[in-house]
C-alpha cells in the first residue's frame, strides 16, 4: 500500500507532477550535457596520446599538452633508441600553423607528422582514402567534421599550408580537437615543411618499450642521457594534458560547476514540490499516524513518492539527453554518454530525490496526529 499511496499521491495532482518532473528533467539534462561535454573534452584531449604507440614520451621541458610543444633535437631519438629496454623510438612532429582556405581566409590547424611505416601516430577511423595515400605528393588527411571550416569539400581538394600546397588524400571521422583546431595528418618530412620546422628538429620521440622492460628504469636512463628533455609515461602525459586544458584553463571547472548547479537546482525544485505535495496531504499522513502507522511506514510513502519521481524524471531526462547526445555527435564539441555516466546520473537522480524528501519527512514527523480531530 505504501507504493499505491505514493503513486496515487503523485498522480493525484497532475500539475504538481509535471512541475516535479520538469525540475528533475531539467536537472538531468543539464548534468548530462555538462558531464557529457566534460567526458567529450577529456576524450578529445587524450585521444592523440592514447592512440600514439608510445609507452614513454620524450619532449621539451615544460610541455603542457600534446598540441603546444616546443621542438627538440631530432638526434634525441637515437639517444633514446640506444637505451637498454627500448624497442622503438619514433619521431613525431606537431605544431600549429595557418591553413589558407581555397575559398579565401585562413584558419589555425595542428599539423601532425609521422611516418606511416613507423606506426607512431597514424590517422584512425578512416572513412575515405587510405593511410598509405599519405605517401603521395602533398597528401594530407583531415577529419570530415572540419571540411567546412577548412573550406574544402572532400578528397582531391587542395589548400595552402604555410608556403606549400596540400591535397586532401583521405578523411577520418571523429578525430576532433578540444581546442576546436582541426588536426591535419601527414608524413614527418611534409609536416616539417608545412610548419617550417628545421630538418634536425622534431616535437616528440615516442618510445616503445621492449617486452619485460621496466618503464621507470628506462625512463631514468633516457633522462640521464637527455638532460634537456622531459620523459613522461603515457599516463603522466595524459594527466598533464588534462590538468592543463580542464583545470589550468578553467574549462573543466566550468563544466563541473554547471553540473553541480544542475544538481542543486534540481534538488531545490524537487524538494519544493515534494514538500508542498506532502503539505497538501498532511491530513492524510496525520490520519495514517492516528491509525497507528509507524514513522517508518510514512517515510516509505514519501520515499516511494520521491523514488517514483526520480525514475519518471530520469527516463524523460535521459530521453532528451540522449537526443542531444545524438545531435551533437557530428559537431566539433560532441557530448559523450557512457553506461557509467548513465548509471551515475541515475544514482544522482535518486540521491537528489531522496535528499529532497528529507524536508517533507521532517514536516510529516513534526505533525500533531491530533490535527485529525480538527479538520
Amino acid at each position: 500500500m505504501t507504493f499505491t499511496l505514493a503513486f496515487r499521491n503523485l498522480f493525484y495532482d497532475r500539475i504538481r507532477l509535471v512541475v516535479t518532473l520538469v525540475g528533475i528533467l531539467f536537472s538531468i539534462v543539464l548534468v548530462a550535457v555538462q558531464l557529457g561535454l566534460y567526458l567529450g573534452a577529456r576524450t578529445m584531449i587524450i585521444s592523440m596520446i592514447d592512440r600514439a604507440d608510445g609507452d614513454l614520451w620524450v619532449m621539451a621541458y615544460g610541455t603542457k599538452n600534446f598540441e603546444e610543444a616546443q621542438p627538440i633535437a631530432a638526434r634525441e631519438r637515437f639517444a633514446a633508441l640506444s637505451t637498454p629496454g627500448v624497442a622503438k623510438a619514433i619521431p613525431l612532429v606537431t605544431a600549429f600553423t595557418d591553413w589558407r582556405k581555397p575559398t579565401g581566409g585562413s584558419t589555425l590547424v595542428v599539423v601532425i607528422g609521422a611516418e606511416a611505416e613507423d606506426g607512431g601516430l597514424r590517422p584512425w577511423n578512416v572513412i575515405e582514402g587510405d593511410v598509405s595515400g599519405l605517401g603521395a605528393r602533398d597528401a594530407v588527411m583531415i577529419d570530415k567534421t572540419y571540411l567546412a571550416e577548412l573550406g574544402v569539400k572532400g578528397i582531391g581538394d587542395t589548400a595552402q599550408v604555410g608556403a606549400s600546397r596540400v591535397r586532401i588524400a583521405g578523411l577520418t571521422e571523429g578525430i576532433r580537437s578540444f581546442t576546436v583546431t582541426p588536426y591535419v595528418f601527414t608524413t614527418l618530412n611534409r609536416a616539417r615543411s608545412l610548419v617550417d620546422m628545421p630538418a634536425d628538429k622534431i616535437t616528440y620521440v615516442l618510445v616503445k618499450l621492449a617486452p619485460g622492460a621496466d618503464p621507470e628504469t628506462v625512463r631514468t636512463e633516457i633522462s640521464h642521457k637527455l638532460p634537456d628533455s622531459e620523459v613522461l609515461t603515457r599516463a603522466e602525459f595524459r594527466q598533464r594534458s588534462l590538468n592543463h586544458w580542464l583545470f589550468a584553463t578553467g574549462a573543466g571547472v566550468a563544466l563541473i560547476g554547471g553540473a553541480v548547479l544542475g544538481l542543486v537546482v534540481g534538488t531545490v525544485i524537487v524538494a519544493q514540490t515534494l514538500y508542498s505535495s506532502t503539505k497538501d496531504h498532511l491530513n492524510e499522513f496525520a490520519t495514517l499516524r492516528a491509525l497507528g502507522s509507524s514513522g517508518g511506514y510514512i517515510h516509505k510513502v514519501i520515499l516511494a513518492q520521491a523514488g517514483l519521481s526520480a525514475v519518471l524524471g530520469y527516463v524523460l531526462g535521459m530521453t532528451i539527453a540522449l537526443t542531444i547526445v545524438y545531435l551533437s555527435e557530428h559537431t566539433a564539441l560532441p557530448i559523450v554518454m557512457t553506461p557509467a555516466l548513465a548509471a551515475l546520473l541515475l544514482a544522482l537522480t535518486v540521491a537528489m530525490c531522496a535528499i529532497s524528501a528529507l524536508s517533507a519527512i521532517g514536516k510529516v514527523m513534526r505533525i500533531d496526529p491530533a490535527m485529525v480531530f480538527n479538520r
Binding site: 499511496l5 496515487r8 498522480f11 492516528a290 502507522s293 511506514y297 491530533a370 480531530f373 479538520r375
Partner: protein
C-alpha cells in the same frame, strides 16, 4: 463501568481488566501565560459491549479527552490503561503501536484517502498492521460488507455520499478488530437519515462483547442509541446516565422514525 465525577486525584490505580481505563487524567495545553488546563482530573472506564457517548459543550475538553484515550496525546498527569497496558512512559512509536493493536478511529470528516478506493481505504488500516496480501483484501471486503457497502468496493470517496464515506470509515475502524473504537462527532457532517444509520451501525458494533465504543458528540439525536452517556464540562466529567434497558427500545424507535421519514 463508571465515570467518577469531579473528584481530586487519588492514589495511582492498579492495572485494570477493562478495555480502557483512565485515572485522574489532567491535560495542560499551551505554554506560559497561555497555558490552559483542558482536563482537570478525569476518571472513566469503558467496558466491552457498550456504546458510550461523551457529550458536552464546545471547549469542554471532549476532543482532548478523546485524543488521550486514543493514545494520540499523552496526559500531563494521570494514568491510562488500554487493554490492560499502561501508556505511561511510552514514546510516540510505542503509542502508535498501541493504537495499531487496540484502537480504531472514526472521524467527523471521515478522513478517507481521496486517492484510494473504499476497499483500499479499509486495507490501509490492515497495511499499517503489516497485514497484507489476499487475506487483507478478503478482510477489507468483509468489513465493507458488514457496513453494507459490498457494492462500493471500487468506488472513490468523491463518488460516495457522506453517509457512505462514514460507513467506509467505520469499516476501516473495524477491520483491525480493535478493543476500542473512538468516534469523533460521527454524525456531525451527516444529514439525519445518514446520521441515524451510522449510529445504528455503531450500536450494533458495540454489541460485540470484546469491544467498547466511545463516541464524542453534541447531537442529542444520538442519545437513544447509547448504553450510557457521560457529560463533560470544563474538563471534568459532571454526569453519567445509563440506558441499559432502553437500547432495544431505542432501536425500534429509530426504525420507526426511519419508517415515518420514508412514508
Amino acid at each position: 463501568m463508571t465515570a467518577q465525577t469531579a473528584q481530586p486525584p487519588t492514589e495511582p490505580a492498579p492495572p485494570s481488566s477493562g478495555v480502557l481505563e483512565a485515572h485522574d487524567i489532567v491535560k495542560e495545553l499551551g505554554h506560559g501565560a497561555g497555558k490552559v488546563r483542558a482536563l482537570k482530573g478525569v476518571n472513566l472506564s469503558l467496558n466491552p459491549g457498550e456504546l458510550t457517548l461523551l457529550m458536552g459543550p464546545s471547549g469542554s475538553g471532549k476532543t482532548t479527552l478523546l485524543s488521550i484515550l486514543g493514545c494520540i496525546l499523552t496526559p500531563t498527569e494521570g494514568t491510562l490503561f488500554v487493554a490492560g497496558q499502561s501508556t505511561e512512559g511510552l514514546n510516540p512509536e510505542q503509542l502508535a503501536a498501541l493504537r495499531r493493536r487496540h484502537v480504531g478511529f472514526i472521524f467527523q470528516a471521515y478522513n478517507l484517502f481521496p486517492t484510494l478506493t473504499a476497499e483500499e481505504n479499509v486495507r490501509v488500516a490492515l497495511d499499517v498492521r503489516h497485514q497484507r496480501g489476499s487475506e487483507a483484501v478478503v478482510r477489507a471486503q468483509r468489513a465493507l460488507q458488514q457496513v453494507g457497502l459490498r457494492h462500493k468496493l471500487k468506488s472513490y470517496p468523491a463518488n460516495m455520499s457522506g453517509g457512505e464515506q462514514q460507513r467506509v470509515a467505520v469499516a476501516r475502524a473495524l477491520v483491525g478488530a480493535p478493543s476500542v473504537i473512538l468516534a469523533d462527532e460521527p454524525t456531525a457532517a451527516l444529514d439525519s437519515e445518514n446520521g441515524l444509520a451510522v449510529m445504528q451501525l455503531l450500536s450494533e458494533i458495540a454489541k460485540d462483547k470484546s469491544r467498547a465504543v466511545l463516541a464524542v458528540t453534541h447531537d442529542p439525536r444520538t442519545i437513544p442509541f447509547a448504553n450510557r452517556v457521560l457529560r463533560i464540562e470544563d474538563g471534568l466529567i459532571v454526569g453519567e446516565e445509563r440506558h441499559a434497558e432502553g437500547v432495544e427500545t431505542v432501536h425500534e424507535l429509530a426504525r420507526n422514525r426511519k419508517r415515518k421519514a420514508n412514508a
